[in-house]
């Protein structure tokens, strides 16, 4: 089986935007998200918001995968796929 992007050690730290950028995000329980550095605002669904709040607390990818599998009743492979897609969108939005 091919190694997925987050399984490569050098990519683990690049998957999400920098912690500093994540911690600056203003999150509202309505799902409204504002980036005070680039001025962009966007919306996240409840799972996206949960991921952002967890990332802001300092969770790394492994911790995030464990939490998502436990909390949302999904298998590891589905969680990995969804988190990778989410991280890609986040990188674009915070660029």
């Amino acid at each position: 089986m091919n190694e997925l992007s987050w399984q490569k050690e050098h990519n683990k730290t690049d998957l999400f935007p920098k912690m500093e950028a994540l911690q600056q995000l203003a999150l509202n329980d309505s799902g409204f998200v504002f980036d005070p550095v680039n001025g962009r605002s966007f919306t996240a669904n409840s799972i996206g918001l949960f991921l952002l709040k967890t990332l802001q607390k300092g969770a790394d990818l492994d911790a995030l995968l464990t939490i998502v599998v436990d909390e949302f009743d999904v298998d590891m492979r589905t969680a990995e796929r969804d988190i990778t897609e989410f991280a890609g969108q986040l990188r674009k939005l915070l660029a």
Binding site: F34, N38, G39, S41
Partner: protein, 352 residues
């Protein structure tokens, strides 16, 4: 100076929706800070400049001769207004008038009118036709630009390695993105007719604009920076909607420019953030921008800070709040014929 009554004159009261002057935002900020304890004199150039008639912001309003008339007619007119109003501070808000005010600084000071202005050399250093030199000195990226004085350029520019689209800019105002030689030539004609020669052409870069407004203390320090991202623009590229941000890279760029220029007074730094994340210096405007009231609402009243600075007060400015958003709108003001007649015939409107 601190014992003098606070009577402040502000220029740039034009309010065209697509390209409003900064004057109204400046007087609105001053009124918000000082209330009835300030007398505000609105100054402008055209009888239809709506800001002249907004009595909630201007206690009196006067017309000035157009900057193209030169500094002597301007001096005479300001001396007349000074005799009538006794203003102690004047805040020029338009690029095209600044050279005249710089030349008149000492003469106006002699009659009691104080201004905080850059020197002539500082002003010229940030002119669009010299900005590449300043950008290189401050180690800031700047899009390739060229001064042109004939529209032939647009039909032969490919020989010099230029490709469409490109941006055509006036020396003081106006910028148009053009996609063909004919569009380029038309933009050249219209900009040259309004703002004179040279006209600038600039490489087109994709991205979004982030701007910063601040004061320079004349010693190289930046005071009270507020940053915003444009969310929507008018046909002339002016902010129609904007949101305050805190972009450390933009802040550092502005700090370097102010240090290099040893800038004195208000200024606006315009930067294009490219899709690649890189920053390009677009312009430095030597005055408050029309969006300065957004900075006031974000907690940093820079026009009031300028007035306090001129009165010798110590400034204590708050950190601006990010996420404050402005959405500009157009509104009518209704005046009676007598008011219009007074402005037409004597160039003044002094409500009782």
């Amino acid at each position: 100076m601190s014992d003098s009554p606070m009577i402040v004159a502000v220029t740039g009261m034009n309010c065209q929706p697509e390209n409003p002057g900064p004057g109204l935002a400046v007087v609105r900020s001053l009124r918000q800070e000082f209330g009835a304890s300030i007398r505000i004199i609105g100054l402008s150039y055209d009888v239809l400049d709506a800001g002249l008639y907004l009595n909630e912001f201007c206690d009196a309003a006067y017309l000035l001769p157009y900057p193209s008339a030169g500094e002597q007619p301007l001096l005479q007119r300001l001396e007349q207004i000074q005799q009538q109003e006794g203003m102690t501070i004047l805040i020029p808000c338009l690029d095209a008038e600044l050279l005249n005010f710089i030349r008149l600084k000492d003469q106006l000071l002699a009659v009691g009118v104080h201004m905080v202005l850059p020197t002539r050399e500082q002003l010229l250093q940030r002119n669009k036709d010299r900005l590449d030199v300043l950008a290189a000195k401050a180690d800031i990226r700047y899009p390739e630009s060229k001064n042109i004085s004939h529209n032939d350029f647009f039909y032969h520019c490919h020989d010099e390695g230029w490709r469409y689209p490109m941006v055509v800019k006036g020396l003081f105002y106006d910028a148009k993105v053009v996609y063909t030689p004919d569009e380029g030539a038309a933009a050249f004609r219209s900009i040259a007719a309004e703002w004179g020669l040279p006209v600038l052409v600039q490489r087109y870069a994709k991205g979004h604009e982030v701007n910063l407004v601040a004061l320079g203390d004349g010693q190289g320090e930046m005071i009270g920076a507020v940053m915003m991202r444009k969310k929507a623009v008018t046909d002339k590229g002016k902010a129609w909607a904007a949101i305050t941000i805190h972009d450390p890279h933009l802040e550092e760029t502005a700090r370097k420019l102010i240090k290099e220029l040893r800038w004195s007074g208000p200024l606006e730094v315009e930067i294009l953030k490219e899709e690649s994340g890189q920053y390009l210096l677009i312009e430095i405007n030597p005055r408050f921008p029309a969006w300065v009231y957004l900075a006031t609402e974000a907690g940093v009243n820079l026009p009031a800070a300028l007035v306090r600075m001129m009165q010798g007060e110590e400034l204590t400015l708050a950190e601006p709040e990010t996420g404050k958003m402005m959405i500009r709108y157009a509104q009518e003001t209704v005046i009676d014929l007598k008011t219009f007649e007074s402005m037409m015939m004597s160039g003044m409107h002094v409500p009782l």
